[in-house]
Symmetry: C2
Subunit: 212 residues, 2 copies
């Protein structure tokens, strides 16, 4: 395994899909799979799958294929599923609450330990047993509890200031739902969920349906 060569983002973005299908296969009790079968499932070509996986090591065996359990575990490790991270959600609007209730976060190894909002009506409430705290306490809380990740679900205008505060308080990563590009030091990881862009893509293709 060559730890020096940078693996392209294009490859990395395919990994979760491999992992998802391997979870399904595992649940079905299937113990081995070939790149061709994975191709049928995922839609990627068999060649591409073999190349992708080989970026991280030779997990397969000639004449046999890949062992589902092993590959699932290895991909899990690559994706950091063997790690546990703490997170806070900033913004307890509809989206913030939905994310607080979203099980996928736990499955990915993240534990949401506090929510923050500036609305006095929200402060003190509990969402799924997680307390909502005053946004003024954000920096202290993040610092004192060594929080790894901030999840930003505030409106666009508030997102950058919140990001700045999280960064100052020592956050390692941000899961950003606000429709803007956050400016952070390059040591801080930002992963964006672009609902606005996603729905525009849908709109684009719907419109193009009509042109045919």
């Amino acid at each position: 395994m060559d730890r020096d060569t940078q693996i392209s983002l294009t490859v990395i973005r395919r990994l979760p899909k491999y992992h998802r299908y391997l979870t399904e296969l595992k649940d079905k009790g299937i113990s081995r799979i070939s790149s061709q079968e994975l191709s049928n499932l995922t839609g990627f070509t068999a060649s591409q799958i073999r190349q992708d996986l080989n970026n991280f090591g030779g997990f397969g065996q000639q004449g046999y294929g890949y062992n589902v359990d092993d590959l699932h575990r290895e991909l899990g490790k690559i994706l950091g599923l063997d790690k546990r991270y703490t997170a806070v959600i900033v913004g307890t609007g509809n989206l913030g609450q939905a994310i607080a209730n979203y099980k996928g976060i736990e499955e990915a190894g993240f534990k949401v330990v506090s929510l923050f909002d500036r609305n006095p009506k929200m402060i003190g409430l509990k969402i799924r047993d997680i307390e909502v705290r005053d946004i003024d306490l954000l920096e202290d809380y993040v610092r004192e509890n060594n929080i790894d990740v901030g999840i930003i679900t505030v409106p666009k205008e508030g997102a950058q200031p919140i990001a700045d505060r999280l960064v100052k308080a020592g956050i390692k990563g941000i899961w950003n739902f606000a429709p803007c590009d956050l400016i952070v030091p390059e040591t801080v990881i930002v992963e964006n969920v672009r609902l606005n862009e996603s729905i525009l893509i849908l709109s684009y293709f719907l419109k193009n349906l009509e042109n045919k």
Copy 2:
């Protein structure tokens, strides 16, 4: 403008970002912009921006650049913002409710006219003035009201059956929040929001921070 050549998905996925920055520029009252300035904003190279835009027509002028209002309007048209579509949300859990309250949907020209759920406790309730109906009524409602888009926010297991029913009822597009790959006829547009994959990417990079 060459309507025959297929424009690559890579290009299309960049359009919403252009549009977003043009909205901001317009709001600031800025009337002209060069590809270089757009590059500074978006992070794409000026060359790439000019190439992207030229897929759809020559919107710029040598020595001047692009007129913000014009380009904004043209990109809006390309993205289908001049069209109005009706939508229903299937699944009124936390995510479904958050989406029902999400303003970006309207901004993209979509109008959510009904929600559907199988939970009797939800049926008859109103979320943001939109009624929640029994899932059994889904097909009839979609057919009778000529619904364009179905938004799927049900758990993974229920997503494909719902997609099948929507397709049968004549839906044109699906905005899918369930973590699975829907199988639909190729005439039906599917745009996925992959929260599970997004957070795994964050996890990947967080883990890789440590390895350095």
